[in-house]
Every structure is written in structure tokens, then in C-alpha cells.
Symmetry: C2
Subunit: 550 residues, 2 copies
């Protein structure tokens, strides 16, 4: 034995350092409370150069007071931070890099700041670690990116420091857990401090510093799609999807993306789906935020359960009044959990169906387009076949091809795209812009959102390509081209193979599915406007001002 190799070292350096920093900030604290006006001073005492800092920013909910405070730190005192941020959405998320307060960035999504981000990466102002899915980033918080500091947001705190995150629990518990249980410092902004919380979402002993803010944290109604903007083409695609995918494969549990395509499906279930006699047979269990466009399907009895990543502004009263469907706490309000719901969307559902901006002829797709380093949030996590899955459902088994006793089923990964993204902008391209963007940003791999190998179906206004049946790249390309319309990919397609592709079940056109193009009218939607959704909800849905046009 060689116990002489035992290191003489302290094994409590993180704990000691936390204690030292908390001590230094004591003069600004009453218990765990810090005044809003002292926050910059306090952060300058609690953060040290080079610290790894996780900052809460889902695509909807942002610790906006704390991110703003961060951008006001003195770069002489605090610089070179390594930031971990799910969603780069606010200007100050990048300002801190301009100012040198931060240096390195690991993130998941940067939609609203993707143009500036790409520029800053090229200029060497941001050093990118990696682009992640949400779950990956959370996973690394307990492996090799353990945060020293967590900056998060909650609705309310009580005087002991317990937190109420209410409908927007989101990623807060996961970020807090990673820091709190590894001697990190957890700093929370709350909208309000109260004597008694409606319920406790995070126990006080996990929290170090609480600051009550004058303004509430930023919260965006990202999952609200106004039915007024749903087009006849999207309705046609919705009908094709319902018949050609949901019905055909008995899809009972699913995640929907946030596009108008899937909003159309939600609004077709109570009408078109009802006519087809599909109620109770498909689309019963959902992993998604409380989409207002799902209200008619819920009210007409289609939906058995919804588990949510986060809340949705305006849906608070409605979700609270439908506890048989939504997850709610003892206080009656929605309980969301981004980590659990992503896990559910990855492992627990039959189908992911989403959209994309570009797709190549092998069905690789990305929302990263020229000059924009956008990332993809949760889509890749849900938009792949989880090979660790071992349980079977009818839809999953339906994807089995061949008779080998070791062949598995598959999760359905469906992309629903119009053939054009706008005049002269075909969705189907030779090479994804992501390849070039990735090269310019020096990424180790191209920022592909969903790999073609994982895509089982593509739906366009022309029909469905059943890619899971394609035996080789040529067949895959042909099936895609057959539904690619007048895009270059479609125009180059040899129409004479279509009959064979149809017979072999590699493609289906609306007529093969019993879908009448002429029936694809807005009158088929269960709700044609936000007002209609309010009526369906019995007045419980309270849309934010920007969706009120009356």
C-alpha cells in the first residue's frame, strides 16, 4: 500500500471560500436579505475574477435584475467570469462580455441575440465553450461545470428564505441544487417578500442571499400563437400530419414545438380530429408549456395530462382551474419543472414534432442561419431517438422495420416545414448555413439542430415523407424531394418514381391520406382568434396586452 501518496491539503476550500465571501458581504445583509440598491456592492464582494457563474435565463423567465446588476460591476474588480446561461436573450447578457466582466460562455439558445453573438465571437470578445441542449447544460452543472455562483429568480420569498417559484418554476431548482450542494453561493431576486408563502418550492437552507426588486423579473409569453395568423397552408399541413402521422402511428404522448404549424394541429383536434373519431385515441398526454391554443382541445376532452417546462403569461387562472390536466401545487397554481419536462420530452413520449428554418437533402436541419449563432434550446434533446429507451408503446413499436429479434422501436421525430420560408427562400438547401457558421465561430462540430438520422417523418404542404422506412441515402433523398414542391430539390426530382415511393409507403400525398386540400380552411379551426380562446376558456385565459387587438 502506498498511503504515502495521500495529499496533505484542505478538502474544504470551497466551503471556506464561500464562508470568507459571505463574511465580507455581511455588512450589507440583514439575515439573508440585501437591499436592491446594495446589490452591485454585494456582488462585487461575492464574485471573484474567473468565477463560474450560472445565470437564470430560460427563454421565458429571466433573472433580469441580477443580470442587469452584473453588467454594472466594476471590471477592475470582477472580470473574466465563465458564464453558464440557458438562453442569451437580454442585451446585458452580451454587454458583460463587451465590458470584460465575463470571458467564457456555455449556453443553449441565443435567438434574440444571435446576430450580435456571432459577431462578438468572430471579434474574439466571447469565448464559446459549447452550445448545449438544456439537459446537457444542467448535467454539466454537477460534473465539470459546477458553478461557484448561482443567480436566479423567484416569485416570492418568506423571511426565512424559502422560495415560491409558482407557475414559473422552470430551471430554478436545478440551478440552485448544483450550487447549493457544492458550497456555491445562491443569490435570488424575488418580486416580493411575504410572511407566508402560498407553497414552498425551494427550501430556505438552499439559499444564501435574497434581494427584493422593484420590478418583477422578465417573463415573456413565448408560447402564445394568435390563431388569427394561422394560414390555410398550415391548416393543410396540420390535417396531413393528423392523418398521416398521429392517426397512422397511434401517437398518444407528445411534445409540440412552438410554431404555427403545431398550433394549427392543436386547433384542429376538436374539429377535424373529432370528425375522424380520434378523440381518446391520439394526443392524450403532453409535455409542453400551457399553450393557449391547446385550450379548445382540453375543453373538448382530448387532453388527459400536460406536464410543463414553464408557465405561460395569461394562463395562470386557467391552469389553476384545470388540475386534472395540469400539474399544480397545494396552493392551486401550476407547477412546472424544466428539467423533469425535458426528461419527459426526451424519454417519456411517443413523438416530438417541430419545425426548422433549413433542411438538407438528408433531413439534417438547423435554425442556425447565415450570421446567426442561435443555438437550439431543448429541440435536439427531444428531437432524437433516445437509444437508452427500453419501454415500448404502440407508436414506438410502429417504427420497427424488419424482423430481427433485436430490432427496437423508435421515437417519432417529425419536422413540419413549408417548402419555402418566404418568396425565393427554399427550406430545402444543399448545405446548411450552420456548417459555415460553425466554422467561422470555431465550433468543434457544426451547430446542427436535428440530425437527419433521427428524423422519422417530414411533413410539408405537399405530403409526408416516411423517412424511417428509407433503406439508403438515395431513397431518403427521393422521398424528401417528392414532397419538396418547387424548391430546387423538388424540381430536380424524377416524378416517375413517385408511384413506387407511394406503394412502398415512403411517401404519402394528401389524396393518399384522404385529406381534401379544399377542406383546409380557417373555418376548420376550433378558434380563429385570441378572443375565441378566451371564450373557450370560459374567461379564465387572460392574454397579455400585446395579444389583445380589440
Amino acid at each position: 500500500m502506498q498511503t504515502s501518496l495521500r495529499m496533505k491539503r484542505s478538502w474544504t476550500t470551497r466551503r471556506d471560500e464561500k464562508s470568507r465571501r459571505m463574511q465580507a458581504a455581511q455588512c450589507y445583509m440583514k439575515g439573508k436579505l440585501v437591499d436592491a440598491e446594495s446589490i452591485v456592492k454585494v456582488l462585487e464582494l461575492l464574485l471573484m475574477p474567473g468565477d463560474r457563474v450560472v445565470l437564470e435565463g430560460n427563454n421565458q423567465k429571466h433573472a433580469s435584475f441580477l443580470s442587469d446588476a452584473l453588467s454594472n460591476l466594476d471590471p477592475e474588480k470582477v472580470h473574466g467570469l465563465h458564464m453558464l446561461i440557458s438562453s442569451i436573450s437580454r442585451p446585458e447578457h452580451l454587454d458583460i462580455f463587451e465590458k470584460g466582466i465575463a470571458r467564457r460562455l456555455d449556453f443553449s439558445f441565443a435567438g434574440p441575440q444571435s446576430l450580435r453573438m456571432a459577431q462578438m465571437v468572430e471579434d474574439g470578445k466571447v469565448e464559446i465553450g459549447s452550445i448545449h441542449t438544456y439537459l446537457e447544460l444542467y448535467a454539466r452543472l454537477v460534473v465539470d461545470l459546477i458553478p461557484r455562483i448561482a443567480l436566479v429568480a423567484a416569485d416570492k420569498a418568506d423571511r426565512e428564505g424559502n422560495l415560491y417559484t409558482g407557475a414559473n418554476t422552470e430551471e430554478t431548482p436545478t440551478l440552485v441544487e448544483a450550487a447549493a450542494f457544492h458550497d456555491g453561493i445562491v443569490i435570488v431576486q424575488v418580486n416580493e417578500i411575504v410572511d407566508e408563502l402560498p407553497r414552498i418550492d425551494i427550501p430556505a437552507s438552499w439559499i444564501d442571499v435574497i434581494v427584493e426588486t422593484a420590478e418583477t423579473y422578465q417573463l415573456e409569453p413565448l408560447f402564445t400563437r394568435d390563431p388569427r395568423h394561422i394560414t390555410d397552408i398550415q391548416i393543410l399541413m396540420g390535417m396531413i400530419a393528423i392523418r398521416g402521422v398521429y392517426e397512422r402511428h397511434h401517437v398518444q404522448s407528445l411534445n409540440h414545438g412552438i410554431g404555427f404549424n403545431t398550433a394549427a394541429v392543436e386547433l384542429l383536434l376538436p374539429t377535424y380530429g373529432e370528425q375522424l373519431g380520434l378523440k381518446g385515441k391520439i394526443a392524450k398526454h403532453w409535455a409542453l408549456n400551457p399553450h393557449p391554443t391547446l385550450i379548445p382541445a382540453i375543453e373538448s376532452g382530448w387532453v388527459e395530462s400536460v406536464h410543463s417546462f414553464g408557465g405561460e403569461v395569461g394562463m395562470e387562472l386557467y391552469t389553476a382551474a384545470r388540475p386534472d390536466v395540469f400539474f399544480t401545487g397545494k396552493d392551486g397554481s401550476l407547477r412546472s419543472n424544466r428539467t423533469l419536462c425535458q426528461m419527459a420530452g426526451q424519454y417519456g413520449v411517443d413523438m416530438f414534432i417541430g419545425s426548422t428554418l433549413q433542411m438538407d437533402a438528408q433531413a439534417n436541419s438547423s435554425t442556425v442561419t447565415a450570421g446567426r449563432l442561435a443555438g437550439f434550446g431543448g429541440a435536439p434533446n427531444m428531437g432524437h431517438d433516445p437509444r437508452g429507451r427500453r419501454h415500448a408503446t404502440p407508436a414506438w413499436l410502429n417504427m420497427k422495420v424488419g424482423n430481427d429479434p433485436l430490432v427496437q422501436g423508435k421515437k417519432l421525430v417529425v419536422q413540419m416545414v413549408e417548402t419555402f420560408q418566404g418568396r425565393d427562400k427554399p427550406t430545402f438547401v444543399d448545405t446548411l448555413d450552420a456548417v459555415k457558421v460553425g466554422e467561422r465561430a470555431g465550433l468543434a462540430t457544426a451547430p446542427v439542430m436535428i440530425y437527419g438520422d433521427d428524423v422519422t417523418h417530414v411533413v410539408t404542404e405537399e405530403g409526408v415523407a416516411y423517412l424511417y422506412k428509407a433503406r439508403n441515402p438515395e431513397e431518403k433523398r427521393a422521398a424528401l424531394a417528392a414532397i419538396a414542391g418547387v424548391t430546387p430539390l423538388g424540381c430536380g426530382h424524377d416524378l416517375s418514381v413517385n408511384d413506387r415511393l407511394r406503394q412502398e409507403g415512403l411517401i404519402a400525398f394528401p389524396e393518399d391520406l384522404g385529406v381534401r386540400r379544399s377542406a383546409a380552411k380557417r373555418s376548420l379551426l376550433a378558434a380563429a382568434s385570441i378572443e375565441d380562446l378566451i371564450e373557450w376558456s370560459g374567461g379564465l385565459y387572460k392574454p397579455p396586452a400585446k395579444f389583445r387587438s380589440w
Copy 2:
């Protein structure tokens, strides 16, 4: 619009039903507390026939008092339950099916009861839903298997009902969350009720019923491997793995299975790894339970962090004294979290390395062998390439084959097996027993643990097969056969192709890796016994009695 389709129904049926049942049990309750002797009566009031019930049973920690109580219910009153149990380990887990109290079962692992389980399935006494990985089962708890009742275990509760789960937090918070936030009833057995908890792991408002038990919940030291039983062959395999996999691919973050093979690696790092100058270069971040055999690597400075699924009996003081390495709470004791750690093991690490009982010539493997319906716990979840992963690490990038700009890296999935499981029992077989077992049990797919498509490396005492480089099934078979020794697979191998396979990097023998077979001796282990581990730990490791041989 067709709001006439709105259903006239109650949307609070679950909440009302919970309230009705809780009311009925009130006469046995003081606040949330129930006496141990009343538990059967209380369960007969809280459970109804056909209920979906999640019962805590990880492979280590079991709500043993509650499972025992369950088996004493009157089947006239409570029958046909649908049980969700991670790990079927205790006799009463199956007794309840014999008695008719339960009917349907969804589970993950059934090692200790696998023989009886297979028999009961054949006899029609248990109706199997599916075999899951842990994460899948947790995911379905919020999708299509939402529990009506949760039966879980914690160390302590306070009088309000807050829970302390301490080192063995495990899956408790996840099971509780799924029930508590969907009007399920959460029933907890605790070892002790105290005035003040060391820390709060689960808030009181998530809990409905608490029962203090005379005996503590069952807890097994499943991750303890006595170094005394590590053989020279396992040491040789450990050396081959360190040079041929860990070092070659720069593996920095990883999960280890619980076999003696990986225990050997843990004990070789401070000696053999040190000689090779690998400290600080490999095996820095770990997702695994506090293995006692990891103590020497920790003490000699190899390990930067460990996140754990659960605790390990005897490691309490040691983990509490090493908070720079382990996740701990403010009370100083270990914080584990099975869900987060499985997520970390799936998405956040470079490598999974484990073992198996059978492997076919395409590297499909299973621990399900003739007559035993064992399931596999977390192995498939960690033992696959997570296709939703988008972040890059050196090891992951090292798995790239070819120059296509869309080619990704891969997670390393390594199987480490001796060529024989015992005299006359080759590890390599033509067809996995799992195929037949699956057929007899009427499973939709064969219970394969890890699919060959996901296995990047196989290590035997003969060498390493670099399967990720194989271009076709023939090459894969040849690479495996080259390291399959005198098993039928190995004996049928054409030795003349070995030189080509070595040149192309498809296989490596010890001599190719600079590993001297003669150096593979027990004297190379950093600890040769449990006593040695205690000494390494400075007396902090307190092994359970069954591991004390002195």
C-alpha cells in the same frame, strides 16, 4: 367556433378524490402523523383498487416498512394495483402480486427477484407493462404513468412534515414531485421524527402522511467491492483499459459500473496511472456512488468531483469530510440525487464503462440470462450515445470517424468482460438468452441491456476492440473475435487478419499498448483489502460488518 364542444365535467376529480380519502383516514392521523401500528388500516383507506402506486425501491434504499405493510392489506379491499417500482428486490414486492393486491408492474431492475419474477410472469401472476431505465420510468411518472399514491422513505421528518433524506436522497424527490403536484397522496416512512432537521431536502407541503418506524428503512452497501477479491486478470484488464481507452482518448469525466473490473481501475489510478504520468489528465469528474475503492484515487489527488446517485453505507463520515469532491449540504452530509446523476451520466460525461454477462458477435449485451427477468436499472441510460448531445469534449471528438462536416463525436461506451464467466461459460454467445426470455415473458422487444451499435469499445484480458472504427458487421465481428480468447467466437477467428486489424487500429493487444502482462499483479493495487481502504481514508470509512473480516 364550436365552444358547444366544451365538456360539462369536473376538472378537480383527482383533488376531490384525494380530499375524500384523506378525510376518511383522519381518525388515524395526528396532523400528518400516523402510528406505525395503524399503517395497514390507513393504507386500506387511502388506496383504492386499480390505483397506480409508485413505491420507492432503488437498488440500495427501500421503503421497506411500507412495502411490508402493502403486502398485509386485505385483497378484498385493495386489489389490482398498478405498481411502479424502480427495483424489485424484496420478497413482498412480488408477494403483493401473488396475493392479488397488485396486478400490473412497470419496473427497471429485478436482480434479486429475477428468477421468481420470470416464473410469475409465465404463470400470468404479474402483468408486465415495460422494463425501463430509471430515467424513463421517472419521465413517465409525469406523462402517462402519473401515480395516485407515492410510498417513499426518508431519514427524518420534523413535526411540520419537512423531510431530511440525507446521504440517500436518491429518487425520493422525483417520486414525491410526480405525486404531490398532481393531487396524488404522498406517504413517507421515516426512521425518526425530530424537532429540528439537519437540513430540509423536501418541503412539508409536498407530503401528506408520515409514519415513524421502529426499524430503519432497508439500505444495502451495493457499491462496496472488497479489493481482496480482485484477481490478476482483472488487474490486467484494468491496465489495458487505462492505456487503451482512458489515456488514448483523454477521458476526463465518466461513470463506472459496480463490477470488480472497474474497481480494479479505481485502485490502479494512484499506482499504475501515476507511473504513466496521467494524474490531472484523465478521470477527473465522476458520476457515481461513493465507491470505497475510489478512496485512494481521491486521497492521492486524482478526483476533482463526484456527483452521486445515492449514498454508500459506511462512507458517510468520509464524504462529509471531503466536500471539495462530493456534493454535500449545509449540514455537511452527502447530497445525492438519482435523477440528476442519471442525467449527468447520460449527457454530461465522456464515458460509461461497465460489464455484462453475455455479449453476441455484434456486441449486443444483456444481464438477462436464461430464466431470469432482471432488467438493467440505469445501464442503458448511460450506456448509449446520447444523440441529443451537442457539446464537445476531447474524448467525444476523438470518436469522430471521417471528415464529413456533419459528423459528430460520440460518447464512449465501453464493455469490460472476461472472455469466460466461469469454466465452460463463454461470455461471447451466438444469441443472447435475452431473446428467448423476452419471448417467454411476452415482451415487445428483447430485453437487451446495451445495443452493439452503441458500444464503442470492448476490453477483455486479451486486448481492446475499437468497435467505433468498424465499417461493417464483418469487421466488428472480426475485431471482437480477435479478443475473444478461446471462446467459440475466438476459436473460429482467422488469426491471419490480426495484423491488418492492429494496423488499422481496430484492435490492440497488451503489447501494442505497452502493457506488460507480467506486471499485472495484486501488488499494483493501491489497496489490497478493506483495511487498506480504511487506512487510506484516515479512519473515516466505516465499512458495514459484513465487510469486516478481522
